[in-house]
Assembly symmetry: C2
Homo-oligomer: 445 residues x 2
């Protein structure tokens, strides 16, 4: 195992690496650098020609995703890994209209589990925010960049990628191209001997499959290691005999428990959904995301996916994109498929996401900060009083959609702790407070 | 050697791999597939999810740049290698105006060394053309795509990259930021013990340095092997003790002969020039190409560079770009720094390129199809009756500029033979014939 780990460390799928990082970060939480002190520009990573010794992030550094280096890496995955383009096409971008409101900085909220109020502005650094944009009624009311990110540039979306893949899946279901009751094994005969064979597409979309798949990095026998080795785009060692691609790995996944009972957040569901989408449409997830969304939302920048050894896009976590383009997707979802006056897909696709998934199955998973929530189409439904729902990435990335306040918040972040439990207490109530501020403002206007 | 070769085969700098390929292709030239038969879509590379066995180009395939796979690979370097973005910025592209003229297909010419006339249209397949665009007086009069390329998508520019780096160098010289008489060792103290130390910037720009650097792949002791190993973005073997980056390799290059005497086409000159540019401006070649050109020519697409293990862009051959964007650069050069009504740099930068370099030093190198030519600013001057000059890539890529005919021809190609001697006989006279056709037409109008 140690040899494989060494060989593949350059290219571990970043979603998973982030969880490994969390152990260290949490253990060291009392001494972890704050947002200003860990700013990658301030720390001088990769500045100069060549960068100074000790300031290089690249080979043979196997810890490029450890904090604080990670705060540089989240904007530079393509410089470390092979990638596949999500083309925006060749047309002119559709620009947002702006109605910036600095008063949002002064909106205050009380963090979950906290007693002292915090300002919106203070929450940005608290959450190691690299970029944040708020749309209200389709207009940009707030936009900021920090750390490694600028308006030009892409940031790793991590598990927000899942919500893009899931949205494509829901679009195909709503259009009747994909039957959510179909068995995965009927669509992908290659998975006949895997746990996925008798799972339905709906169970993929809600992540209620029963899979023997552990992401526990402290366990050397956890399936995550074999998955990482298979997913790496690097040459395998000569004596490697395991699966060599996402496709090959997914065919080996064994069942554990019954499908349809309990929500289990396992990235391989999204990789299988990506495969289902590719087989159904004849287009890879990266290609379909381009043709169905990126080329039609007026995107300003191409996006990209990291890939495995044969160019398969990492449907479960490999997307990097510009902040404004993610906001365009958020607005498209808020508007149930309409953007710039054009309908791109049936409203039913978003309705299913917004209604959410099996709340009982979700409750069994015990998410402390998402009580009463659910998961559908690879989006998280809060089922709060505003019916908010969100795409969520492991270091605080989000597309947070509040239909009641007609608000979209898009955030890229590089929080040292991998897991939204670390930033939810100063994020979710902040989003709600801004939503209420914007609702009040709309009523006053 | 064999071990290193195996380890680095995934990521050999593509410029050099192309030369290795040439041996095979030339040896097999009697049986090599023609353009239609080797079309990557027809051959089915990388189609399907997963692609069929035998149709995969990726790991552990170390021959991704062998013909005919190469005809797919030239449009997909980023899926195989880490890359660095050349951002076009966020604005709307500046679209070309069109005055398409199908009659160009019927223009005929006599190939060098040939006796039978050939039509322009026939020359496209003869040269394994993937994309070709002709600008006349700033308007698109001809545009075609084939093989792996479409209007959306990037193609490897190979040594046309050198001309982009060289153009940046000439811009800095023309602006007074860079002194062409300066010694490289004074700008880059890291090269004090290398052959470059007492070479001038001008000698870099004209490639008249005297360097002990062989690109002979049949010689296991040729310097090209150590260069390839150093340039690879992949993890080095544990027992590797050689240079790990472009920077480290360039510092080891030893002298052979005197500087300033003979033209010697050696890619490392361009990598040093890229380093000189980065040290002088504080921007990498990829960043400067974006800020000085790509963000200001109205580009439709981002471009990108392949990189070494610490993200250094391959200034001598790593650029991939869209066909139309290369045409924009061509028009900018034809117009001596003006595009879309805006001057981007002093006309002197192009004047130096157009005037060419030391013709005597060039003659000594014995280029059969470029008699009387020269090399300056990393562009090739034909010194023909039209004063044409060109950027040239090893598989037939070109930006061919004919100031007399007010014509720019941009071609991407994937000729099986690495070396322009294979396609010059059916390219250079074809370009001249179209130039004369357009001159006649302009006079008639």
């Amino acid at each position: 195992m140690s040899r494989y780990y060494r060989c593949f460390s350059f290219a571990l799928p970043v979603f998973f690496l982030s969880w490994a990082t969390s152990v260290t970060a949490q253990q060291a939480s009392t001494s972890v650098l704050n947002a200003d002190a860990s700013d990658p520009n301030r720390l001088g990573w990769m500045q100069g020609f060549p960068p100074a010794p000790g300031k290089v992030i690249g080979q043979p550094d196997s810890n490029y995703f450890s904090f604080p280096k990670m705060r540089w890496t989240v904007c530079h995955f393509r410089e470390l890994l092979p990638t596949k383009q999500v083309s925006r096409g060749l047309g002119a971008p559709a620009l947002f209209s702006y109605a910036l409101d600095d008063a949002i900085n002064d909106v205050t909220f009380t963090p979950i589990d906290g007693s002292e109020p915090m300002s919106w502005e203070a929450s940005l650094n608290e959450n190691y925010t690299d970029g944040l944009l708020i749309l209200h009624q389709g207009q940009v009311v707030y936009e900021t960049y920090s750390g490694c990110l600028a308006e030009t540039g892409q940031h790793g979306a991590m598990s927000v990628t899942k919500s893009m893949t899931g949205l494509l899946g829901e679009i195909l279901v709503a259009e009747g191209t994909l039957d959510e009751r179909a068995l995965v094994g009927d669509i992908l005969p290659e998975l006949a001997d895997s746990a996925f064979a008798n799972a339905t597409v709906k169970q993929l979309l809600e992540m209620t499959t029963g899979l023997a798949f552990s992401e526990d990095y402290s366990d050397p026998n956890a399936e995550i290691w074999a998955y990482n080795a298979a997913a790496s785009p690097l040459p395998k060692p000569d004596d490697y005999t395991g699966p060599r691609t996402y496709y090959e790995y997914l065919a080996t996944v064994q069942p554990e428990g019954e499908h349809g009972q309990v929500f289990g957040y396992k990235t391989i569901n999204t990789d299988v959904l990506g495969w289902v989408i590719a087989r159904t449409t004849g287009e890879s997830v990266s290609s379909l995301l381009s043709s169905r969304l990126w080329q039609r939302i007026g995107a300003e920048q191409d996006a990209y996916f990291t890939v495995d050894s044969i160019g398969t896009p990492f449907a479960g976590g490999g997307l990097s994109a510009g902040l404004r383009d993610m906001a365009r997707v958020g607005q498209l979802v808020l508007s149930e498929g309409v953007i710039n006056g054009e309908r791109l897909f049936p409203a039913a696709a978003v309705e299913r996401i917004r209604q959410g998934g099996d709340r009982q199955a979700f409750a069994a998973a015990g998410y402390r900060y998402l009580p009463g929530g659910s998961y559908r189409g690879m989006w998280w439904s809060l089922h709060n009083e505003h019916n908010a729902f969100a795409a969520r990435g492991v270091h605080g990335q989000t597309i947070y959609i509040d239909p009641t306040a007609e608000m979209v918040i898009v955030r890229f972040a590089s929080h040292p702790v991998a897991g939204n439990a670390a930033n939810d207490p100063t994020s979710l109530p902040a989003y709600q407070a801004v939503a209420e501020y914007l609702l009040d403002k709309a009523e006053t206007d």
